[in-house]
Symmetry: C2
């Protein structure tokens, strides 16, 4: 199993605190030693960091932990390989362009038979079922909508259906972003929390670290975190149930 972490906010927000907790699970408090990756959106641009090394030992992870890249959308993943060897091209998140937007995707779970599904536009570079499923989803979107649908809800409903279809092939917890929205699908494990005023303290489960968000934020900030398992022990995380699909925009859930 892998661990997912997503952020969606209404103001550019750094993920240093939550990232610090998650990275401990990469080889120290957790068994996810087979690489990690993160995609930060800045406007339409997307900055990715990938490392096939255990996150707890990674130089690049140290940089990301200490360097506050501020973003409205983040997709992060640490990997325990179940399918596909440990190498850079099998390291999530995967990215592709559709409709002139950067799409980033990370997956937790295992799928069966997905690789026999036909692909038209997008081809996987690595050998994971995760990247294959991502290519298939984008392929379907592209075939159905040569241009993005006028109403965002149309797109959201279609993504939900496509994710549910992939989920039938096994376990499919997924985080996806197109630079505007963060899409979260729960197959077995996914939880989320929204932080907003009045902000309080949060303390990480995986490492001794506490942050007082009141000092780091303004009263208008709204920030949602999505993770495989709650990362803090003193906040109220909502645990999703199988089949749940949420869309986040500007820090709040706009579709479920």
């Amino acid at each position: 199993m892998c661990e997912l972490l997503g952020l969606n906010a209404n103001v550019p927000t750094d993920i240093c605190f939550s990232f610090s907790g998650l990275m401990e699970r990469g080889g120290r408090t957790g068994p996810h030693k087979d690489g990690w990756g993160i995609a930060f959106y800045e406007g339409k641009g997307c900055r990715t960091f990938h490392d096939p090394l255990a996150s707890a030992d990674s130089e690049v992870a140290k940089l990301v932990k200490g360097y506050p890249i501020k973003s409205l959308n983040v997709v992060c993943h640490i990997r325990q390989a179940t399918h596909g060897r440990v190498c850079l091209e099998n390291t999530h998140p995967f990215t592709r362009e559709l409709w002139g937007r950067n799409w980033a995707f990370a997956h937790n779970g295992k799928l069966k038979g997905v690789k026999r599904w036909p692909l038209k536009y997008y081809k996987p570079i690595g050998t994971t079922d995760s990247e294959y499923a991502f290519c298939w989803v984008l392929d379907q979107l592209r075939q159905k909508y040569p241009k993005p649908p006028a109403k965002p809800e149309t797109l959201w409903r279609t993504i939900k259906k496509l994710f549910a279809k992939v989920d039938e092939q096994g376990v499919f917890n997924g985080l996806l972003s197109d630079s505007k929205y963060l899409y979260a699908y729960c197959s077995t494990h996914l939880a989320w929390v929204t932080r907003r005023a009045p902000f309080g303290e949060a303390s990480l489960i995986d490492t001794e670290m506490t942050v007082d968000f009141a000092k780091e934020t303004t009263p208008n900030d709204v920030v949602t975190m999505v993770a495989t398992r709650p990362l803090t022990d003193n906040e109220e995380w909502t645990v999703l149930t199988p089949g749940d699909f949420l869309v986040f925009h500007e820090g709040i859930s706009v579709f479920n």
Copy 2:
């Protein structure tokens, strides 16, 4: 004008030394203060670092300078904006997937009218003429070859023709890689040097730094560097002439 740097080698090689020289040109010895980016190939995987900040001041650049990521192919770019505002999505190198391969592209120069050319499969995310031209080249390749041509030379000749066509629109010094090969096109300025046994010392023009490659290499290593202008003052760089197109594989020029 921007600065390009490429590496192609027969053994995984780090680019720390040449990168150190180039990064000085990003805001210190050169005017290229509008961001920088680098793509490292590791097998079929591609690791990219992008920063819209001046490279001389960039935290991410410090990491890349000090952290020896070893690669057979590298495409690097520092930017002085001529077209398109300074932001992440306008920061080279640009990447796209074609035939299940990662393609990375960086451009130095200015093009006129390219943005009126039709695009079918690939859409730009940012607003640069460079990314548009890259999308157009991949679009043409994809339309002509739904699968990669059996003979690499067929692909090389086509890329040369496409680059020459783009070059007609202005200035087009370009570096491209598909994870196997490094493609270099000279419109006005591009130079290259191949390092092989017996290795000697090299000293950077832009910063006081010397490296003794004899200590860093094995006798079988062959490493080619391509750059806008020579980066060292005691090696014999070959300066390309307008219209030159070279393909490098395992450190040597295999097509021109």
